[in-house]
């Protein structure tokens, strides 16, 4: 366990060091970015929409239960969606889709000795494999968290109009009373941080993959579990830090 943590620390340091060393593989970075954002967008939008709808309906139910009035639900639900729900749900979905894919891809390369071949050719696997994915996931995390948040808010507005009886105008008025623009900025920063965690963890487990199909599966599972846990812990840390700015 200690050895693994030590390896992870050394590997992370090397990764961040390599991040600022050219050459930057722009073509590969854009391909990864397309994989992370464009291809993940439908599933993320679909899932967060339902999460937002559930959130606003549950909020209304609980408010009515407690104070027999749900007039504040649009504001509260918007704030909850913007500060937590949109970014965390989209990052966890990104972990299960992209993180698992990255771990499996890098793990397969490790098992089939393609990583060793890169080393033989004098190419640093971190700079070659990890950096484009790291940049893609970080930028993708920011973009996806933004889109996911706004889609969530739109779906919440739809439900509040169709189910709860609040017009879009009153929803926006309620939202304005609670939400500030920095909530969105902090959500995007969170998205970027969560996006950074995913490729680092996934590639770490991929590069440490043991031989055989079982090894690849194990690396994939570990990467998803560890990245998800890391995201939730990091969410707490970032929320604590951001709370000083309110």
């Amino acid at each position: 366990m200690t050895a693994t943590l030590s390896d992870f620390f050394v590997y992370s340091t090397r990764t961040f060091k390599a991040l600022f060393q050219p050459p930057f593989r722009s073509k590969d970075t854009f391909q990864q970015l397309e994989f992370v954002t464009w291809q993940s967008l439908p599933v993320i939008v679909f899932c967060v929409s339902f999460a937002a709808m559930v959130t606003i309906m549950e909020s209304s139910f609980h408010m009515k239960l407690m104070v027999q009035n749900d007039s504040l639900v649009p504001g509260f639900a918007s704030l909850l969606i913007l500060r937590e729900l949109g970014v965390v749900v989209s990052s966890l979905l990104l972990t299960s889709r992209v993180g698992a894919g990255l771990a499996a891809e890098v793990g397969s390369m490790q098992v089939t000795e393609q990583v060793d071949a890169l080393r033989m050719l004098g190419i640093d696997p971190i700079r070659f494999l990890v950096i484009p994915r790291l940049i893609a996931c970080t930028v993708g995390g920011v973009i996806l968290s933004l889109i996911a948040n706004l889609v969530c808010l739109y779906c919440a507005m739809l439900i509040s109009e169709l189910k709860l009886g609040y017009s879009s105008g009153s929803f926006l008025t309620g939202m304005r009373a609670f939400v500030s623009y920095k909530d969105l900025v902090f959500a995007m920063i969170k998205g970027g941080c969560f996006g950074t965690v995913i490729p680092i963890v996934s590639c770490f487990f991929g590069l440490r993959c043991e031989s055989g199909a079982e090894g690849v599966g194990k690396a994939t599972t570990n990467s998803v579990v560890v990245a998800s846990v890391a995201i939730i812990v990091m969410d707490f840390v970032l929320t604590y830090i951001f709370s000083h700015f309110y």
Binding site: T37, L72, V142, L146, L150, M175, V179
Partner: protein, 259 residues
């Protein structure tokens, strides 16, 4: 489609969404149609940047900024005011904000959302100029009111404890007084219904009528003439002393006792 194009489209979409969200929240107002006004307070009662500004209950703007100005003095009165709040008011509502308008800080909603309420001014007063500094009405400090109420309640309790006996006596006396007054009112009611009293009142009324007739006659020209003659007679009699009058009366054969 190339990956670069797809990523570029998504990036563009993100920028558009960010701008749209800023516009929806009112952070960006490229087509702003409002004027700014500075309202000075010494106590702002918890109002915040972004709090709504209302005229006659309708939202017409919001609080733009709050500045601490320790050296600030009101231009006209010279009053020291340490807090200057910059607000925006839409041009549509601007003509209703006049020199005699009042600027209150109020509470609204279930959770007590703070807002700045502007009472509309009268047409006799001129409109305010954009950027002008006006004095707001400081909201009451609830904490101070509560503490003052506690102090007053304490003093009342102390007074009651110290003068418990006297207070009881006073209340007893008051009670008796009220009872007596009640009895008196009943007696009066009874008396008013008595036929004898009716008769007395009727007679008194007749006397008053006669008196009125008599005084009316006195105001007539004949009576005035008589009074004038009497007055002249008294003036002529004034220089005469008792002896002269006595002699005059004796000569006339009138017996009278004078002085």
């Amino acid at each position: 489609m190339r990956p670069q194009t797809k990523v570029g489209l998504l990036f563009l979409l993100s920028v558009v969404l960010m701008v749209a969200f800023a516009f929806a929240l009112g952070v960006l107002q490229p087509f702003s149609n409002s004027n700014e006004l500075k309202v000075a307070y010494n106590f702002a009662g918890g109002i915040e940047v972004g709090s709504p500004v209302r005229v006659m209950g309708i939202k017409v703007g919001k609080v733009r900024s709050i500045q601490f100005e320790p050296q600030f003095k009101m231009p006209e009165s010279g009053e020291q005011v340490k807090l200057v709040i910059t607000i925006s008011v839409s041009k549509e509502a601007w003509p209703t904000v006049r020199k005699d308008s009042h600027f209150f800080i109020n509470l609204a909603g279930v959770i007590g959302e703070k807002f700045l309420e502007i009472s509309p001014g009268t047409l006799e007063n001129p409109e305010l100029t954009p950027g002008q500094v006006v004095r707001g009405e400081d909201p009451p400090r609830i904490d101070q009111l509560i503490s003052q109420s506690y102090a007053v309640a304490g003093k009342i309790l102390e007074f009651v404890n110290k003068n418990e006996g006297s207070l009881v006596d006073t209340i007893d006396t008051l009670n008796k007084l009220v009872l007596n007054f009640d009895k008196m009112l009943k007696q009066l009611d009874k008396t008013a219904k008595d036929p004898e009293v009716h008769k007395i009142v009727k007679n008194f009324n007749a006397i008053l009528d006669d008196g009125a007739f008599f005084t009316h006659e006195l105001r007539g020209p004949e009576a005035q003439k008589t009074i004038k003659l009497l007055n002249e007679l008294f003036h002529r009699l004034e220089p005469m002393d008792a002896k002269a009058i006595k002699k005059f009366l004796q000569e006339e054969g009138i017996r009278a006792r004078l002085f």
